[in-house]
Amino acid sequence: MNKPVESPNRVIKSQHVKLGTKNKMDQTYTDINTMFYDAERTPSFMTGSEVIRQAIKVASVGTSVAYPITPQSEAAALIGELYSEGYLDEYFRGESEFAVMGQCAGAAFGGHRVFTTTAGPGTLRAMENFPMWAGSRLPIQVCVTMRGVNSPLSIQPDTLEASYLLETGMLMWHAETAQDLYDFILKGFIVAEQPDVHIPIATMCDGFFVTHTKDTVMLPPEDLCLTPYDPYKSPVPCMDMECPPIRMMRDPFIMKSNYISYSTHASWQQEVRAAVERSRKHTIPLLDGLIDVENIDREILLVSSGTAVSQGREAIRLLEEEGIKVGLVKIKTIRPFPHEEIREATKRAKHIFVPEFNMAGWLAREIKAVVPDNERVIAGPHVAGGMTMPSEVIVEEIKKYLGIKVASNR
C-alpha cells in the first residue's frame, strides 16, 4: 500500500540546543548523521550489555528507570554507573516492571528523553503501559532483551515476547548483532522523537546471544553526543493527568457512552498507527532501508530477523558448498513492517523459509500476510526455550522440503 520513500537528506536537526556546543560532561552536541557517517569510528570488543551502556553514554538521556530481570539486568546496572558518573539526570530502581514503565511515562510527560530495559516476563508484566505510552505519544525507548516468557521458567533466549508487542502502537526494531543494537538505540531516539512520529520504540535483541556474547562494534568518539529531546516539538501538549488542556483522567472518552466518544477513540488509535507509518520516511535513510537483501534473485530465500539472520548466513554458506543457492532477506524493523519491501524482495522466490527463535512463528505469519502466493512461505525451522539454532538445522529444513536426502546421524 505504501509508496516507496525517497529521502535524499538523512535527517533532521534539533533546534533545541546549538550543535557544536558542549554538555556538562564536556561532550559535543552532534547531529546524528555526523556521528554515524562523518565521525571516525573505532573498533571495540564488548558484550551487548556493554554496548547498551556505550550507546546511552552518548544518547543525552534524561531519565532511566531500572528493575532487575535476566538478561537485561547487567545493562540496567551499567546505566546506573553512567548515572553515578553524571551522564544521566535521573536513575532509580522501580518497584516492578509495571511500575518502571509508569515511572518512565511520568518522566517522558515531563519532557525527558527516557530509556529503560526489560525482558521476557518483565515485558509481559509491564504490557498495559506500552499502548498507554503510544496513545499518549511518549517517545520512550525500551530495550527488550528477549527471553522465554512461559512456564516452566526459562531465562534463555526466545523471541515469543515480540509477538505480544506487535499491536501496542510502538515502533519495533530487531537487532541482529551488537553493532545493530548500538546503532538502533541511537537512531531509534531520533526517529521516535520526530514530531510526526513521536511514539515509543522497542529496540529488541535476542537475549544472551547478543547481550552476553562479545562482538566487535564500531563506535564513534565518546566526546560526541546526541542533541537532547526537544519537548516543544511534541505533537501533544505536555499532558497533565488532571489539568487542561489534556485532562486524561477526568475526561477520558470511556466516561462518555456515545458514538462521538467511540469515534474519537478509534481515530486516536488510527493516528498512532499512522505515526508508525510516518516513521518510514525517517527510518529508511538512517537504517539504509527497513530490510537488507543478498542474492534475492534466487529461488530459495531465507527471510528472518535478529540472530536467526546470522544463523541463516552460515546455513547459506553450507548450502552453497552443496551447490544449493539461497538468498537472504534481513528484516530490521518489525513495526513499521516492511511489507512493500518484502513483496518486492521475494517476488521471484519459489520457497521462502522463515527461521525463528519461538514456537509461534509470528514473523512467518506477518510475512504470509503480505506476500502473494503465500504457500511459498515455510514457517520454520523453529527453536525455543533457549535452544540454539545450528545452521545445519536450517540446511536440513531446506533440503527436506526440496526432497533432498538428509543424512540422519541424530
Binding site: 510526526d196 472518552f253 462518555k256 462521538i260
Partner: protein, 210 residues
C-alpha cells in the same frame, strides 16, 4: 495500485488515516494537495482560491497561537487575524482539547474530539487549522473528512498533516503572510470572496462575550 486521495468528505463511517493509505508528508519547501506533493508556492494559490470560493471560510486557531506563551505566538496570532480580515473568514478557536460533547457551543468553538459538530452547525465548507498540536489536528482533520463535506487545510509548524486536504509545513509568520498575499493577489485579479456575511463572535478564556 491506486493512489489514495485526500478529498473533502463525507468519506466513510470511519475513514482511514491517510498515512496508512500511503500518503507521505511533504519535505521542506513542499506542501501536499489532496495527497499529491506540490511546491509550496502552488499551495498558497490553491488555498487562497479555495478560501475565496467558500461560503463559510473559517480559521481554527489552536492553543499554540491563542495563548501568549512566547513572542512568536503573538506574531503568528496577529498574522492570522490579518488573514481573517483579508479574506474575510470566521475565527473559531480550538482553545483546548478536552471533550465537550454535548455541551459545546458549536457556533463559537471547535473541539478535536467532535469537530464535525462545529462544521455542521456553521455549514463550514473550507477551513484551515493553525496552531493546533499535531496529534489533535490529525484527529480533527480525519473526523471532519469522515463526516462532512468541508475542504480542510492545515498550516502546521512541524511536518504537516496528510489528513488535511491541503497542508503546509514549518509554518511561520512569513508563510501565513504569504497565504494572505496570495489572497490579495487573487482579489486584485478580480476574484471575489463568496463568503456569506457573518458576525465574528468574541470570546475570552471564560467563554463567549459577544
Amino acid at each position: 495500485m491506486s493512489q489514495y486521495q485526500v478529498k473533502a468528505g463525507p468519506e466513510a463511517f470511519l475513514p482511514p488515516a491517510a498515512a496508512s493509505m500511503g500518503v507521505i508528508l511533504p519535505n521542506p519547501g513542499e506542501c501536499h494537495i489532496e495527497g499529491r506533493i506540490a511546491p509550496e508556492e502552488e499551495g498558497y494559490e490553491y488555498a487562497a482560491r479555495k478560501f475565496l470560493e467558500a461560503k463559510v471560510p473559517t480559521i481554527f486557531p489552536g492553543p499554540l497561537v491563542l495563548w501568549n506563551w512566547n513572542e512568536n505566538a503573538t506574531k503568528k496570532a496577529k498574522a492570522i487575524r490579518a488573514l481573517a480580515d483579508a479574506l474575510p473568514a470566521r475565527l473559531i478557536p480550538m482553545a483546548d482539547y478536552r471533550p465537550k460533547y454535548p455541551k459545546i457551543d458549536a457556533e463559537a468553538e471547535i473541539n478535536p474530539n467532535h469537530p464535525n459538530l462545529t462544521i455542521w452547525h456553521n455549514k463550514i465548507d473550507v477551513c484551515i487549522f493553525v496552531g493546533v498540536h499535531c496529534h489533535q489536528a490529525n484527529l480533527a482533520l480525519k473526523i471532519i473528512r469522515g463526516g462532512t463535506d468541508c475542504f480542510t487545510m492545515a498550516m502546521c509548524a512541524q511536518a504537516g498533516h496528510e489528513d488535511a486536504c491541503l497542508s503546509f509545513r514549518d509554518a511561520t509568520v512569513e508563510k501565513i503572510e504569504k497565504l494572505m498575499a496570495a489572497v490579495n493577489k487573487l482579489k486584485k485579479e478580480g476574484v471575489k470572496s463568496q463568503a456569506v456575511p457573518f458576525k465574528q463572535i468574541k470570546m475570552t478564556s471564560s467563554g463567549r462575550v459577544a
